[in-house]
């Protein structure tokens, strides 16, 4: 076991190779997403930068009364928790997940599509890396998520690869009957001084009282 700040490399790492050639910054996608959904929607976001960026975006838009649930732990269980919420909710149920998280417990996608219902929307923010812990590869760049989502029972699959198809495809995805799967190809990079969600009890209270 090794504690934080007690380990480093002797030689500085050479410039890391770019993980992917994707084009959309996650922060920009999430900004567009919150402007496109019904504010009463249930939105559950995964571990990593996703929850942190969503929290940052909402803190800057005080008039947008969206109350998400942040998976501050339980990596790989974003979809399962969203499924639990969706069972007894008549709102849109949006799962905002990463590929590292999807792959960790991918088998849960089967129950998710079987019981998730027409309002279940799964968004995969695909950067093929564990960005928030150092941008290491998830060894998944060859995975075909269109086939994967179909095999697991999603009724439809959508893909966003650049700023030009972002708005249109997102709108179609949100309006479609679920369970639906949206893959968004994400360029590595976040904002400076990104904080973390504070006061988890309040996050829970706000989510439950929508």
């Amino acid at each position: 076991m090794i504690e934080k700040s007690k380990i480093k490399t002797k030689q500085k790492l050479k410039q890391k190779k770019k993980i992917n050639n994707y084009k959309i910054f996650r922060y920009n996608f999430i900004k567009q997403l919150v402007n496109s959904i019904n504010i009463k929607s249930n939105i559950i976001s995964s571990t990593g930068y996703t929850s942190r960026e969503l929290d940052n975006i909402l803190s800057l838009k005080k008039n947008l009364k969206i109350s998400p649930f942040y998976m501050v732990g339980g990596m790989g269980h974003t979809a399962s928790l969203t499924l639990g919420v969706s069972l007894k909710s008549n709102k849109q149920n949006i799962c905002l997940d990463g590929d590292g998280s999807l792959l960790m417990h991918a088998g849960s996608l089967g129950v998710v599509t079987k019981f998730g219902g027409k309002k279940f929307k799964y968004i995969l923010l695909r950067n093929d890396s564990h960005e928030s812990v150092g941008d290491q590869t998830t060894n998944s760049e060859h995975i075909n998520y269109k086939m994967l989502s179909k095999s697991f029972g999603f009724q439809s699959y959508f893909l966003i690869t650049n700023e030009f198809n972002l708005k249109g495809v997102l709108k179609k995805f949100i309006n479609t009957s679920g369970p639906a799967f949206l893959e968004v190809r994400i360029k590595s990079g976040s904002i400076n001084n990104l904080g973390r969600p504070k006061n988890l009890k309040l996050v829970k209270k706000n989510f439950m009282s929508k």
Binding site: I44, L83, K88
Partner: protein, 139 residues
């Protein structure tokens, strides 16, 4: 001896009507005795997370069942999502205890059976062993 029907009816009386989990050899007839409001899932971490989501949407306490061998899969969401120091999300766990001290079982079950109570203690999960209806009512 404890009867599955009694477990279900006792929980139902306490308004605990939703069940999820991974089937277990000790609790093997539980899934067949549950009617609706029941989802059998792929792993125990999924079950804990699904149950947590259910609680968030309904404010009702769910029930998660598993074999103790699956506790390992459940630890992550139990300690980093539902734990009282994180989001404090309640649920009832029914855990089949393979490799319990008075039983003779395969090495993989004996090993886990020995440490099951310790794991629950470390996770801050109150627990008791149900041997008959009296214990159940006390619980």
């Amino acid at each position: 001896m404890i009867y599955i029907e009694d477990i279900i009816s006792t929980l139902n009386k306490k308004k605990i009507n939703f069940f999820t989990g991974v089937p277990d050899s000790i609790l093997k007839n539980l899934p067949f005795k549950l009617k609706k409001n029941h989802i059998s899932v792929n792993n125990e971490g999924t079950a804990i997370s699904l149950a947590a989501g259910y609680y968030l949407a309904t404010k009702k306490i769910p029930c998660v069942y598993m074999q103790n061998s699956g506790l390992g899969n459940a630890i992550n969401p139990l300690i980093s999502i539902t734990n009282k120091n994180v989001y404090s999300i309640p649920s009832i766990l029914i855990i089949g205890w393979r490799g319990s001290p008075n039983s003779k079982d395969e090495p993989q079950h004996q090993a886990k059976g020995k440490i099951t109570k310790d794991i629950l203690k470390l996770l801050g999960i109150k627990h008791c062993v149900i041997q008959n209806k009296k214990y159940l009512l006390k619980f």
